[in-house]
Symmetry: C2
Subunit: 189 residues, 2 copies
């Protein structure tokens, strides 16, 4: 029989730490860590990032505001939620999310709330991604994209959103999870 | 009004590529890329990984087999799905998933199917994570952990699984998304 242990796993102790990289888009730390077993891992890599944000924006007529863009890591284009990075100290994460939605899609307004907190990879990254739900957004202006952003905008009804999330139309787990949480409220008849 | 463009974003062209690191747990590529706008990004970083796998395992009495372990990137302990890496060429991803479930929890058997394909971060990583759903798993043996793994096992009923996934008990988006997809079949009464 499988023995079920009931003491929570212990945190690792950092014995030494260096930075391999401290570039604008790559902050890579290497830790020498001691486990509770006594074992030492000489080179544990952690990528340090600021908080990330994304937005599940629903229009007044119950369509989700999605974008499509090319992602070089995976080398393909998928549907995504508007998203960005919280790296301006004068902004809150909510303000960063509102700004990203407006800049990437031209939509704004509606009622906003913190919807979900997730990690892309808790073993390798130190940051949290905050998803905001914005209900009742309206088109307010043109996109204002960074000069490396090429983003198309798509407003989709909720049944299409469900197909996109469940049939590999959307690949990023940080986006699929909050979409599924939202759709759980509307069981398929 | 927001203009909706209907041509899909274009892939980037790789002009040059070097590897910053090629260590066992860190393969970091730096690409010099040309965008369709004509803009060049001199240093785009991509982390290369083999496929990852995880398992949503449900016992015969409808409990989910979860684990808890410390994750150094985020510095905390959370509930997780049993998971691992597909890095043995002689194994399929399904076999890797079955092995990880058995080694991390001692559970095996049941009916298996590919449940979901996701990316932790399509802009920065090149790999896909495959989630398998295993229904009707049974305890078959002891854990067989790697010497740096400290993992506790928890079988939880589905209403507790829902609370864990929706109330920050589980933080990794790659795990929360397939759990929510599974729970969508069982609307809360």
């Amino acid at each position: 029989m499988t023995r079920h242990i009931h003491t929570d796993p212990s945190a690792w102790e950092v014995l030494d730490t260096i930075y391999l990289h401290r570039r604008p888009w790559l902050t890579m730390r290497q830790d020498r860590v001691l486990l509770s077993s006594g074992q030492i891992i000489e080179d544990y890599y952690v990528q340090e990032y600021p908080p990330w944000v994304n937005v599940l924006a629903i229009t007044e007529d119950r369509r989700a505001v999605l974008i499509r863009q090319y992602r070089h890591g995976i080398g393909k284009v998928y549907y995504e939620l508007p998203a960005g990075v919280h790296d301006k100290p004068e902004e809150s994460v909510l303000e960063a999310a509102k700004r990203e939605l407006l800049e990437e899609t031209g939509y704004s307004g509606g009622d906003w709330k913190l919807w979900m907190e997730l990690s892309a990879n808790p073993s390798l990254q130190n940051n949290i991604t905050y998803t905001f739900l914005a209900e009742g957004v309206v088109p307010s202006g043109e996109q204002q994209l960074d000069d490396t952003e090429e983003i198309t905008i798509h407003t989709v009804p909720l049944d299409e959103l469900r197909n996109i999330a469940l049939e590999n139309g959307m690949i990023q787990a940080l986006h699929v999870a909050p979409v599924l949480k939202y759709l759980m409220q509307f069981p398929v008849g």
